[in-house]
C-alpha cells in the first residue's frame, strides 16, 4: 500500500473515485488502441479497407456518432458519481473537524463530545468507519486539502469555508499534501491522517483535550523553562503552561505526533533540535526565526522537552 496514492483507496469515497479512474483508464486505452489501429489501416491497409476509411460516412460515425454516444454516457456516469460522493450517507452523525491552511502548515481544531474545541496541528486523527466533515478555510493564501487515499481535494480559500467529507474504513496512517501552490515552501506542506478504531479515537481525543504532560526528567524540566524563557510562547501554545499564543502550531501534544514541520521530518529529539536552530534551512521561509541564542545543550533540552509532550 502506498501512503499517498489515489490507487490505494482506504475509504468508500476514495474507492468510488478509484473505480471511476480505472474505468476511464481502460476506456481511454481502448479508444487509443482503436485510433492507432485505424491510423495504421489507413496507411497500410488493403485497398478495400482504405476505401471504407476515406468515406464521409466513416468520419461521421467515428468522429461524430461514436464520441457523442460515449461522452453522453460518460457525462451521466460522472454526474451520478459526483452526486454519490458528495451526498452524505447520514449527515447528522458526521464528525466535524476544522482545518485552516497557513503558510506552510495546517491548524486543526476538533470538537469533542461535549462541544469543546481542541487545538492541534499538522496531524489529524479520525475514527474509522465514521463520516468526517472537514471545514476548510485559509488564514493567508489559497491552499488545497488533499489526502488521496481517503478522498478528493478541496481548496482552502481566504474569505470562504469549503467542505470535504470522507470516511476511512481501515486503520492506518495516510499522508496528505497541500495541492495548491501556496508560495515558498509549498512542497513541504504535508500532513498525516491517522485513522483509529472508534474507542481508541475517543480515548485519544479525551487525552488530546487535556493540558500538556509534565516534564518527567531534569533535562525536560530545564527544556520547559528554556522554552518559556526563550520566548517560544510568543508564537506557540502549550496548554497548561504560560505559553498560550496561537500564531504558530499548538505544541501541547507535539511529541505524540509522528512528524514535525507539517509532515516534513519524523518526530525525534534530534529533529526538534535541528528545526530550532536550522529551521530556515530545513523549511526555507517558514515563520519561525532560527534560534541561535541557545547553547547546544540548551537546544537539546528544549528538544527533549518537546519530544516528551506526548
Amino acid at each position: 500500500m502506498s501512503p499517498q496514492s489515489v490507487l490505494s483507496p482506504m475509504g468508500p469515497d476514495a474507492a468510488r473515485i478509484a473505480e471511476t479512474a480505472a474505468i476511464l483508464a481502460v476506456g481511454a486505452a481502448i479508444v487509443m488502441t482503436i485510433v492507432v489501429a485505424v491510423l495504421w489501416l489507413a496507411m497500410r491497409g488493403s485497398p478495400a479497407v482504405r476505401r471504407r476509411l476515406q468515406a464521409d460516412r466513416f468520419v461521421a460515425i467515428a468522429g461524430v456518432a461514436f464520441p457523442v454516444v460515449t461522452l453522453t454516457a460518460l457525462l451521466a456516469y460522472g454526474l451520478w458519481t459526483m452526486q454519490a460522493v458528495i451526498s452524505p450517507a447520514d449527515a447528522s452523525s458526521a464528525m466535524r473537524i476544522e482545518v485552516v491552511g497557513e503558510q506552510w502548515w495546517w491548524r486543526v481544531t476538533y470538537r469533542d463530545a461535549r462541544g469543546r474545541s481542541v487545538a492541534s496541528a499538522n496531524e489529524i486523527r479520525i475514527p474509522v468507519g465514521r463520516d468526517v466533515l472537514f471545514e476548510l478555510s485559509s488564514a493567508d493564501v489559497i491552499h488545497s486539502f488533499w489526502v488521496p487515499n481517503l478522498g478528493g481535494k478541496v481548496d482552502m480559500i481566504p474569505g470562504r469555508t469549503t467542505t470535504l467529507r470522507f470516511r476511512s474504513d481501515r486503520p492506518g496512517a495516510y499522508r496528505g499534501q497541500c495541492a495548491e501552490y501556496c508560495g515558498g515552501a509549498h512542497a513541504l506542506m504535508a500532513l498525516e491522517i491517522v485513522t483509529l478504531p472508534e474507542e481508541e479515537f475517543d480515548a485519544w481525543l479525551a487525552a488530546e483535550a487535556m493540558g500538556a504532560a509534565l516534564p518527567a526528567t531534569e533535562v525536560e524540566r530545564k527544556g520547559g523553562q528554556l522554552f518559556l524563557a526563550g520566548g517560544c510562547g510568543a508564537c506557540h501554545a502549550i496548554r497548561g503552561t504560560p505559553a498560550t499564543s496561537s500564531v504558530g502550531p499548538d505544541l501541547t501534544h507535539v511529541g505524540g505526533r509522528r512528524f514535525i514541520a507539517a509532515a516534513t521530518l519524523p518526530t525525534t529529539r534530534e529533529n526538534f533540535a535541528r528545526f530550532i536552530v536550522d529551521g530556515q534551512h530545513l523549511k526555507p521561509g517558514n515563520g519561525m526565526p532560527p534560534f541561535r541564542i541557545f547553547a547546544p545543550e540548551e537546544v537539546d533540552a528544549i528538544a527533549a522537552y518537546l519530544a516528551s509532550l506526548k
Partner: protein, 99 residues
C-alpha cells in the same frame, strides 16, 4: 446569423450557470429551476427554427451557400450543447455541496 448555433449555446450556458450561482449564493434554490427550463426550451426552439431555415436556403453565391451549410451543422452542434448543459439540472440537486 451563421454563428447563431454556438452563440445561443453560450447565452444558454450563461443563463443556467448564472441563475444557479446567484440562487446558491443567496441560499434559495426555488425560482431558478423554472428559469433554466424556460431558457433551455427557448434555446432549443430558436435553434430548431434556425436549422430548418438555413437548410432550406438556396443561394447562387459559392461562399454564402457554404456558410449556410456550416450554419446548419453549427446549429445542430449548438442544440447538442444546450441539451448537454441541461443534463446536470436533471441529474443533480441545486446547490449541492458536502455538508
Amino acid at each position: 446569423m451563421w454563428l447563431a448555433g454556438p452563440i445561443v449555446w453560450a447565452l444558454h450556458l450563461a443563463v443556467v450557470y448564472g441563475a444557479e450561482s446567484f440562487a446558491c449564493s443567496r441560499g434559495s434554490a426555488a425560482a431558478h429551476s423554472v428559469l433554466g427550463a424556460m431558457a433551455t426550451l427557448v434555446a432549443l426552439v430558436m435553434l430548431a427554427i434556425l436549422v430548418v431555415q438555413a437548410s432550406g436556403r438556396r443561394r447562387v453565391a459559392n461562399g454564402a451557400t457554404f456558410m449556410d451549410r456550416v450554419a446548419v451543422w453549427l446549429g445542430v452542434a449548438g442544440m447538442a450543447g444546450v441539451i448537454a448543459s441541461y443534463l446536470p439540472v436533471l441529474m443533480i440537486p441545486a446547490c449541492l455541496s458536502p455538508a
